[in-house]
């Protein structure tokens, strides 16, 4: 049989089991968990983390890391909101969305450029970008929330036939990413670079281009998350998104992607995102104090990965 497939099936199965167990527990423990309105709420809440996690999956697969996500979310949100004021000509939609995405892309390109051309470690580059992007968000907004956004933009946080639009974004992004990594040449190259960078280069892969691509893509995802967040809170908040990158990376790792690169999948990431979302929601429903929530969440993250690694070794 196919060892790799076996393992990844077992793996997904393992996380799926944890997810089902948590879901079952919550359904029994609370009356409100298994209701349409609550699940819709969960879906809405996980979407932003989901979009970020899908983006950072690419980076982690190459063996890199992106710590700037949260700040880039804030910067993109502020830029988006700045372009979203209603004007006499009407309510803009395309311009603010494009501005948000391009802001994210620009940050990602700078990250990727410094990692590949400058040969600075991704940890350092993106740590720097984390501070720079936060500073830029404060500069652009003058330190105040950018309000007065057009209704057409804030409608992006609404529903289509009861399905939240942010969720649709997450699902679309995840599906495209999954298909891309599985079936496209560049997707294959992402795994190869993470699996053995030297060998990938010797095999004729332009390692620099692949890395530039993953950081830029991750930036675009942060831009998208920034736009969605701004739409949801109807303002561009320069202080939003703090530590979002850590939730995203946690979801990816819970989903079985190796921090050293080469191993992992978008499907795993999606499960990781949902697991974190359900846990957050459950703790809220059981009215656990937010101080305790943090402790519980941290323990669950490490516990899930620990269980998973034990399984992989067996």
């Amino acid at each position: 049989m196919n060892a790799r497939l076996d393992r990844s099936l077992l793996h997904r199965f393992g996380i799926l089991l944890v997810l089902l167990a948590v879901g079952l527990g919550l359904s029994v423990a609370t009356d409100s968990f298994l209701t349409v309105s609550n699940l819709t709420n969960v879906a809405r809440q996980v979407s932003i983390n989901g979009i970020l996690a899908v983006g950072v999956t690419f980076v982690l697969l190459t063996g890199g890391v992106d710590l700037s996500l949260g700040s880039v979310v804030a910067l993109s949100g502020v830029v988006c909101a700045t372009f979203a004021h209603p004007s006499p000509e009407g309510h803009p939609l395309f311009l603010p969305v494009a501005a948000g995405l391009l802001t994210g892309a620009a940050c990602g390109l700078v990250n990727g450029g410094l990692v590949t051309r400058g040969r600075v470690a991704p940890f350092i580059v993106t740590l720097g970008m984390m501070t720079v992007a936060r500073g830029l968000a404060l500069i652009v907004s003058g330190g105040r929330p950018v309000a007065d956004m057009s209704e057409r933009l804030t409608a992006l946080a609404g529903d289509v036939r009861g399905v939240p639009i942010p969720l649709l974004c997450f699902v679309a992004v995840a599906f495209i990413a999954w298909f891309f990594l599985k079936r496209f040449r560049l997707g294959r190259h992402v795994y190869a670079v993470g699996g053995n960078e030297q060998a990938a280069r010797a095999a004729g892969i332009s390692v620099g281009r692949v890395k530039l691509f993953v950081y830029a893509l991750c930036g675009v995802m942060a831009g998208l998350a920034g736009v969605v967040l701004a739409a949801r809170i109807t303002t561009g908040q320069p202080n939003a998104g703090v530590a979002y990158e850590l939730d995203a990376i946690a979801a990816v790792v819970i989903g079985g992607t190796s921090l050293s690169g080469g191993v992992g999948s978008v499907a795993g990431t999606v499960l990781g995102v949902i697991l974190i979302g359900v846990i957050n929601n459950g703790l809220d429903l059981m009215s656990v104090s937010s101080y305790y929530q943090q402790v519980v969440k941290g323990v669950i993250i490490v516990g899930a990965v620990w269980l998973d690694r034990r399984q992989a070794r067996a």
Partner: protein, 491 residues
Amino acid sequence: MLSLTRISKSFGGLPVLQEVSLEIAAGEVHALMGENGAGKSTLMKVAAGLHAPDGGTMRLKGSAFAPDSPHAALLAGVAMIHQELMPIPDMTVGENVLLGIEPCGPLGMVDRAQVLERARTLLAELESDLSPDAPMRSLSVGQTQVVEIAKALGRNADVLLMDEPTAALSDHEATALFRAIGRLKARGVAVVYTTHKMDEVFRLADRITVLRDGRHVITSPSGELDQERLIAHMVGRPMSEIFPARGKVAPEVVLSVRNLSRKGAFHDVSFHIRKGEVLGLAGLMGAGRTEVASAVAGLTPADSGEMRLGDREFRPATPHEALAAGVAMVTEDRKGMGIIPVLPVRENMTLSALESMSPGGLINRTAESAAVQEGMRAFGVRASGPEQPVGQLSGGNQQKVLIARALLNRPEVVVLDEPTRGIDVGAKAEIYSLVRRLTDEGRAVLLVSSELPEVIALSHRLLVLRQGKVAAELDAATASQEEVLRHAMPL
């Protein structure tokens, strides 16, 4: 001392050991021989507690022995020295030798004086003059090997398992290692080791056991075997012809290289290769062979000089450009620059050729699996299937995957750097006939090899490098090993 009875083990459904039994006596040197993938390393790892056997039993000094970790095996008296040594480079020799068994004073503080003293005693027992104070980083592979043996000695090992200890050693270092093994033997330690070097087995081993396809073939005192019969046992058929005859060379020049130089590596190197020709690059370690090959394949570009591929100018700055122009290389550093261990055979094999099977970037899976099926068949890759991670294959099979990868692009020029390093006789023979097949298809081959008989027999012409410069160009059909060596030696 150590007895293994009907040991079986499979990985991913592929049986690697099938009911292998083996008796190791105290004070004997026992060689485990066999092709790559025959199960030698796995058998050792079972005895060393790294793999649990699926079936069978082991006894050590008369009592049942079922180690569940390398640590447990070590405590019981079985130590293993791996093919890839694992020293801690920033610690001293002494600290490495006594790693984990440091003599401690009260409060658990390490007694440094005693560390030095005990390390010195252990090294002296191996007739090594290494200083326990020397930083590990400064040691050669051979010296590291000795430190590993001292480490095992310090733990009073009764059985020492060594996986290809001499693969990376110079002759001089190997001799020192053999002396150390002799001392171990005198102390009553049983030494089990694997190697691909025929001559040394007969010098060193008391008894030889041959494995083939995971089964025990024969155990015999080494005096009762000769090289030919040993090879026949390993391969399962008599080795009448190892080297195929040279193919026919066409007149047109495929690759011409003029005045190629790279600072600190090679200087003013010129040569050409014709269609269907094998040009051998011979020379000593550090003469610049790999560097020249890497320049041709775009891995480390030359500083100056010119290359032409057919009638086009050829100046690859990256392997990507070289591949696109029609030059593919199989690197000597299989682990470091060749395989991507976590990815399956399929993805490893098609890595360089994806461009041609992914119009618009989307991989055509039918074309890909067809190419992989064909590649695995044509190159005789032994794996549980195309989805097995390549890191789980034996060295010879990994090499076949890499050669298949290089050839999927149908390159005009194939650069083979030490294509048979660390692989066994059977796989070598397969690779030799592969080289012949390449030239029959009209490709030009640049062959780098440290094995003189190999590079002479396979090549049409030989380019001997000495200290980065071309020392001689010889007709391989008439060249002798002595002649090549004479040109290769520094004046």
